[in-house]
Symmetry: C2
Subunit: 333 residues, 2 copies
């Protein structure tokens, strides 16, 4: 187990200085073919590999970005991660992944990595309220960070969201057009942007068109909360005929309980879910949904981060349109 060869060794073997070899390898120098060949063969015979840490230390950056998501196992964030990874790979950047499980310490940890220049930039996604404004402060203390999907309120960084208000409106319009009047909303935490906006778009549009919001249930973007919400809906609000659900995951939980309790979605209770990531067309019944352009969110988030890293200090807030995909979970009354 001998020490691996360094740039020095290559330079020596090629009869050149390390500086020249370094420049050549980084493309900042064009050498006569003969010299280039000497270097290349030295590299080949020594089996030389550049050391990325030395490079990072010297240059002060790592050609790596970070992505924090609440949970990669959630299909929405999995697809977001795939999109980001794809673009990072194209740009020659590595991707560090942090699945925060919504624990603020994990999130802050990761932002700290950015401060230490462990990563050159950070794509940030969260799912819960920013307790004590700790996230806001941490995020604002950094340059190269962009927020996706869910807001961290008060921060001034580039952001990309889907148009939650529009999504809510589309859902309301669809229900009303099908003759529903007594509606409910089931979503994530009351005090986070996505949940609030989805509820607001829904209720404003519904009321405008003569509908009534019987109840708004705020909880978490989880299957478990979906289960709880469905129990409550069945027990406490039997008059509701249609529910707008803030996320696929929540809908899954609700569908389970509906099944267990013999309530037929579509026939007995109409639903529309927000996200439209899983295979909603194959469910029983196929679920009508507000489709989020998750790949676009990832791509644009990445582009915003690149712009930041290139020195653009503007703080655009981009809202991507959503569409309603009609399937069979809304019954006409």
């Amino acid at each position: 187990m001998t020490k691996p060869p360094s740039l020095q060794d290559v330079a020596r073997a090629a009869g050149l200085s390390p500086a020249t070899v370094s420049r050549f390898l980084n493309g900042s120098l064009h050498l006569p073919p003969e010299t280039a060949e000497r270097i290349n063969s030295a590299i080949a015979t020594l089996n030389y590999r550049p050391n990325p840490h030395a490079r990072s230390l010297s240059r002060g950056r790592s050609d790596t970005i970070g992505l924090v998501v609440p949970d990669v196992a959630n299909p929405f964030f999995a697809r977001l991660a795939a999109a980001v990874e794809h673009h990072a790979g194209q740009a020659g950047l590595g991707l560090m992944l942090c699945s925060s499980v919504n624990r603020q310490t994990r999130e802050l940890d990761y932002i700290e990595r950015l401060r230490r220049n462990h990563v050159d930039g950070l794509l940030f996604t969260t799912n819960h309220q920013d307790e004590h404004q700790a996230l806001r402060r941490a995020i604002d203390a950094n340059r190269n960070i962009v927020v996706m999907d869910e807001d961290v309120e008060g921060t001034s960084v580039p952001k990309v969201f889907s148009d939650n208000l529009l999504g809510g409106r589309l859902a309301a319009r669809h229900f009303l057009a099908a003759g529903h009047r007594r509606l409910a909303y089931v979503g994530g935490p009351r005090n986070i942007m996505t949940s609030r906006e989805r509820a607001r778009g829904f209720s404003e549009e519904a009321v405008t068109r003569g509908g009534e919001i019987v109840t708004e249930l705020f909880g978490h973007y989880t299957m478990d909360y979906g289960r709880a919400a469905m129990e409550m809906l069945i027990d406490a609000y039997p008059e509701v005929t249609a529910v707008f659900i803030g996320a696929d995951q929540v809908m899954y939980g609700m569908a389970q309980v509906a099944k267990e309790r013999g309530k037929r979605l579509g026939a007995d209770l109409s639903i529309i879910a927000y996200d439209d990531v899983g295979p909603l067309s194959l469910l029983d019944p196929p679920v009508t949904a507000i489709h989020q352009p998750v790949e676009d969110i990832g791509r644009i988030g990445f582009e915003l981060l690149m712009a930041r890293m290139a020195g653009d200090m503007s703080t655009p807030v981009i809202r991507l349109p959503v569409t309603l995909v009609e399937r069979s979970s809304v019954r006409s009354l």
Copy 2:
């Protein structure tokens, strides 16, 4: 924009040597409270942050591991990634994610990062045949690598798989017990381990019990291939009454086509899928499946990697048992 403080600066401010401060910060030294306090307050007033690249360069490792998967957007790999990330986080390790899209250059790139010590270890997952044995060679040229889920044949590294043979047998037994005799298999590439083993376990058990394998369709672990396979099945093998499907994704494609062509799964054609990641209980019909312990695969893969990195050069091959989860996609004849 002044230069950030270094360990040197902290040491100076605390009236100590950098070595002492370094040792103190790394916990390899216990200082009298008074001295410790001097250091801590110096750190606080200077707002000092250690530089991870300098640390990595100096120590020759990065406290980061890599994970390569064919596609994080695929729920199976998403959950695998979540499991790995969880354990890496617990162990204080960062996680670099590579979604290879099954492109061998991406896979090799990532193995190369391991060689350069960019990451200290690598968890490797692939989905396609190892063309020209390039993967085998690259993997065998490294120490700290473990293979999960799908084999890279010929490599001598720790591995963790699910028990594909068992899965095939369970599926066959279930079909036969329900009275099915004319069976088919639809799976991934013909020449990769998971696909071969699932097919083999299925056909051996089926034949033993008096069943007949009408056809085996090998393709890819994708929805698109599922669609193609279902077309073929309907058109060319109408006598088949039950199909064992090598992956959730493939099943989704088949279910779409079944729906389009008016073939009712369960009633007209019984199916069992391998994986059981998505919400199979909510599909129409709920799909009976061979359940893969994906979180365990991730955890054990991680543990094997830790053992390797700690110097254990054994090469265990672990096969995790699978179970059949009965739902309603198999009809009794």
